[in-house]
Structure formats: structure tokens, C-alpha cells
Symmetry: C2
Subunit: 344 residues, 2 copies
């Protein structure tokens, strides 16, 4: 094969071998980092020397081919534009990089999860981290023979890590209840994504324990993003007997809701209390700052990656099961006691 003109062929183990006066195999032994490689000290030094003289850099592609592993993993998230998932990815990247793996990042918004899995397979990834992407949406068998770790999605089939979404919802309810609210609303997606369902269930459940139900018109379905949050809040504001406290399934929705309230000339938290969920950086950028439930996104990603790498590098060790990661209420500027009838 002739290389593209002008681009010099890169240094291989053969080149190093020639310079060090040893066989190519020996070079591989020395440079391959194989722990049980017994090479004479002198030879080893000659080889290392030659390698650094030549600027040798191992060809990962060749290594991948022979080892049957690419030292690459994939991570699929619902939407990279959501800072929460970006943090999950950051966590995955950190751990993966430390472990010598590269990460192929896939945004389910740009391409369907099924196609992403196909692509990742073709690239021989050693495993995939899948975050909150409904597994049912994948073709049957799409994940066969693949090492998969799930984030925020329970499964019998694959190991995973999750945050305590139920607690998140309960905390939000608890906080608002404690402030004296009695008329609640909820904004969240109707999707099958487990976390959102649990957040909602926790919220609704805690309210029910307090003897309060959310009438269906105050239960607004919206995709977990800013614009849908604005629209949903608009609908809520138009209602008579409107809610004094709204729990949003994530911060993006919360930010949208806040925007709508302020645009409508309402005072937050005087007129309406708002609670989000995730605690993305933006929550502290808006004015007033968004009260929210903090979810350790980065840690979630890091743990998922650790789980995956452990399966990959030590396949025999027993799987560790994680209990849900704790979440934390962050009381900030969008929640307060409701107005008394007199004040209104």
C-alpha cells in the first residue's frame, strides 16, 4: 500500500527493533506494557531508548485488531444540549480517559439510538453507557453481545446506576408543603423515561400522604426542555384557582416556567413558587435563583463508566450493584410561603 504522498510513514515496532538491534517481538514485549514480560534490563533499556529516539507511538488500531478490543466506549444520552447530560458525559469521559479508553459521544437528538448502537458496534466499541434512553425504542437484539451499563433506567438485563428520583420528587413536595402550599401543579414529560416517572411519583405520592391531590388540569405534560416549560406554565397561569406551587420535572422546564412567570409580570416566589430538578449551573444564573433538587450528574456518569470498565477489564469479578445516589434539596430564590388571601 502506498501512503498519501508527503505524509511520512509513522514509526512502527519494526523500526524500533531495527534501531535497537532486537526482534520486533521483543519490542512489543517491552513496550506493550505486558506485566509478565521478562526482558533483560539491558535489552529493555536499549528498546526504550530507541523508541524514544524515533518518537515511536503505538498504533492503537493495530492493537485493537489483534486484541479484539478497541479501548473505546460509547455513551448515548437523550440530549447533549441539556447540561445535565453533558455533566454525565463529562463524568464518563474522566473515568474512561483515566482507564485508557476513548469515548464516542452520541446525542439521541441527532440520530436515533438504534442507529447509534449500530455505528458503535461497527466501530467495535467495547461497551456502551446508555443514559435514560428508553430501551424499548431499540430494535430487539440491538444490544446483544454488548457490554452495556445503564444510567437512570432500571433493567434486569444490564447493570446500572441511578439517582434517587423518587426522593427528589418527595423532597420537592415536602419543601413546598412545609412552606404552607396547598394548591400544586406539576410539569413533566409523558415519556416512558423512568427517572421522570419516579420524580413525578415521588411528588404526587408525598402530596397524597398529605391528603392533597393534583387535579388533572394542573398536571401538564411537556417535553423536558425550556420552551415546553414556558408553554406549560402559560397554560397554568391561565387557569383560575391556579396553583401556588409548581414542581418541574427538570431544571430546563423550571427555567422555562420561571421565564413565563416573569414575563407575565408575576413576582416569583411571591405569586408562584417554583421547584426544578437536576441543579444545572443555569439554575443559579437566573434571577431569582431556581430552587431545585440537586442530582449528582457527573458522579452518575463516573460511576457508570467505572462499572463498565470493571466489567471490561475484570470480567470475572462480581458485579457491584449500586444503590440510588442521594439527591439534595437546594432552597434558593423561587420558593416561599404562598400569599394569604388577604395579601392577594
Amino acid at each position: 500500500m502506498t501512503r498519501r504522498a508527503g505524509v511520512s510513514r509513522s514509526i512502527t515496532t519494526h523500526d524500533v527493533a531495527a534501531r535497537a538491534g532486537v526482534s520486533q517481538a521483543t519490542v512489543s514485549l517491552v513496550l506493550g506494557g505486558n506485566p509478565r514480560a521478562r526482558v533483560a534490563q539491558a535489552t529493555r533499556e536499549r528498546v526504550v531508548r530507541a523508541a524514544s529516539d524515533l518518537g515511536y507511538r503505538p498504533n492503537i488500531v493495530a492493537r485493537s485488531l489483534v486484541r479484539g478490543r478497541s479501548f473505546t466506549i460509547g455513551v448515548i444520552v437523550p440530549e447533549l444540549a441539556n447540561p445535565f447530560f453533558l455533566d454525565v458525559v463529562a463524568g464518563v469521559q474522566r473515568v474512561a480517559t483515566e482507564g485508557g479508553y476513548a469515548v464516542l459521544v452520541c446525542d439521541a437528538r441527532q440520530t436515533s439510538p438504534g442507529r447509534h448502537v449500530e455505528t458503535l458496534r461497527g466501530r467495535q466499541v467495547d461497551g456502551i453507557v446508555i443514559d435514560a434512553v428508553g430501551l424499548e425504542s431499540l430494535p430487539v437484539g440491538a444490544l446483544d453481545d454488548l457490554q452495556v451499563v445503564l444510567v437512570d433506567e432500571p433493567s434486569e438485563r444490564f447493570p446500572g446506576v441511578a439517582s434517587d428520583a423518587l426522593a427528589a420528587g418527595r423532597m420537592a413536595a415536602e419543601h413546598l408543603l412545609g412552606l404552607g402550599h396547598r394548591r400544586f401543579a406539576f410539569i413533566g414529560p409523558a415519556t416512558d423515561v423512568h427517572t421522570f416517572r419516579m420524580r413525578e411519583r415521588g411528588f404526587v405520592g408525598r402530596l397524597r400522604e398529605a391528603g392533597i391531590a393534583i387535579p388533572s388540569e394542573r398536571l401538564r405534560r411537556a417535553q423536558p426542555a425550556i420552551a415546553p416549560g414556558q408553554a406549560a406554565m402559560k397554560a397554568l397561569l391561565a387557569q383560575r384557582d391556579r396553583a401556588t406551587a409548581v414542581f418541574c420535572a427538570n431544571d430546563l422546564l423550571g427555567l422555562g416556567a420561571l421565564k413565563t412567570c416573569l414575563a407575565a409580570g408575576l413576582s416569583v416566589p411571591r405569586d408562584v413558587s417554583l421547584v426544578g430538578c437536576d441543579d444545572i449551573e443555569l439554575a443559579r444564573v437566573v434571577t431569582p435563583e431556581l430552587t431545585t433538587v440537586s442530582v449528582p450528574a457527573r458522579e452518575l456518569g463516573a460511576r457508570a463508566a467505572r462499572l463498565l470498565l470493571r466489567e471490561l477489564d475484570h470480567p470475572d469479578e462480581p458485579r457491584r450493584t449500586h444503590k440510588p445516589l442521594p439527591v439534595r434539596l437546594m432552597v434558593r430564590g423561587t420558593t416561599a410561603a404562598p400569599l394569604t388571601p388577604a395579601e392577594r
Copy 2:
């Protein structure tokens, strides 16, 4: 080599060949997508049939090894957490995916650009898109023999695409000048990043043309992120004879500045006018919405990727040079005429 137990060996061209009753090479010819492969229609069909029966999926790693190309590119950005760069990456990904390339995303915050380049090299990437990462910060020779396309950074050595940063600064000045402002401030990084330097130069230059200079105490240096923007604005607010209009080198800084103003009880834009740059989604989430200069991040990324792919796939075609991508002023809620002395 024995595979890990339980994991079935994947289907290779040999398997397909056996089933179709042809040689392995023929399978490669048919399935390899080689345009100048002449195979009999009947054979071709048998092979395709066998492949799909077996669920054959080409091994990109093997293909990469023999072709000397990995069909993978890298993209290095200063900070993935900045939505602007995330959009650049999204643009790169879209084009790369269409062209059959995978993308390795590198955040200069997590690891130094030099190390990223090393890692990418080891993984045999075919090229790298580098966005606003000072090339001087790289070790000499780090980019040798590498196909590189630069975003928002001029260079003799590598092709690139850029936005019209000078115009961005001028537009901001023009707009504020038009509103009647005379006391200006600027918040931006002191880094060597070309775009920021140009935005500043455009702004300052346009003001100078109007006979106005920015006193040094109103020229605040801050890393291009939210928190530094808050701090810088705080300093600005503490000054007597303070500026009535502030141009921030990017939206993150602008958002921070806005936050500080509102927290200080000032009314924006009544008391202070603020202009950002980039036009990230967040600019429209805060209240009031941030006036800013829109920069086509996604398009920037897409063009960079197209440039790179063209060099990769058609090395002989002449390089296309891009003129700077136009930017656009988005007048929103954070700019207005300054208060008259009487109103103050």
C-alpha cells in the same frame, strides 16, 4: 486467540464467503463499497444475501488498519460546558457522521490540548478540528503530519473557518452608540484567543471612531464564563461615574453581568445596558432577554468539518478559503437609551 467466553465471535467476510460460496476477497469487493469493483450481478446478489442473512457488519478497525485511516476525527474545544462550543461540536458531528467519520470530542478544560493531540494521534485520527485553542500552547511539532482545520483562529499553516469577530464588536458599539450611550465598559478575557481579541478591537475601534475612549478601569479582564462575569460587573458597579453600557466578550460573561446587576437591585436596561456575544440559547432564557451578537456556531463547526473531510477524502482538490461568517445583532431586552441626568 480465544475470545472471552460467552461472547460469540462476530461475523466476518470469511463467514459470508463460505455461505455465499465465493472467496473472501470477492465478499470484500462486493461489500467494501469499492466503486471500481466489477462483480457479476448474480454473485453480488448472493453475497449481499448471505451477508444480510448472517447479519454481517464490517469491522471498521480492520478496515482502518489496512487503509491506514481510522475514519475518525478529533475536535478540541476550550470548554464543552459553554453552549457555544457545544454547538460547534454538534456541527462537526453532523457533517462527520454523514461522511462516515466518528468524532472524538476533547474538552481542553479536562485535559491539556497537547495531551489531547497525543491521544488523538495514538488513536490514528485522520484529522483534527481545533477551536480557539491557542496553538502556541501546544508543544512544537505536536501537529506535524496531521490534518488540522482551525476554527476562529487564523494561521498560515492550517486552513480554517472563522466568524466575523471584528464586526461583532463593531455592531455592539454601533448599537449602543445609536442609543445615545457615551460611557462604556468592556468585559473580556486577556487571553490570546483571537476571536476575543477581535471582538474587543472591533468594539473599541468603533468607539474610537466616535471619539470615545474606554478608561482602563472600565476595561475588565475576566475568563469567559459566568462567575468571572459576575465579579467583573461587581467591580464596574462599584465605580463612580460608572458605565451606562457594557459589552461582554461572550454571552456567559453577559449572563454573569446581568445577574450581578439584578442582584444589586439595578434595573436592566434602565440603569445599565448590556450586550453579549454568541447568542447561546440561554440568552433568551434570562429576564430580561440578553441583547447579543449572534454567531453561527453550528455552521462554523459544520464548515470546519466539511473542510477537513474534503482534505481527507479529496487531498488533491484545492483548498477552499472561507471568508469570515457574518454575525448578526440581536436586539433584545438588555439595551436601551441611557438615563438622562434628570431621570437619574
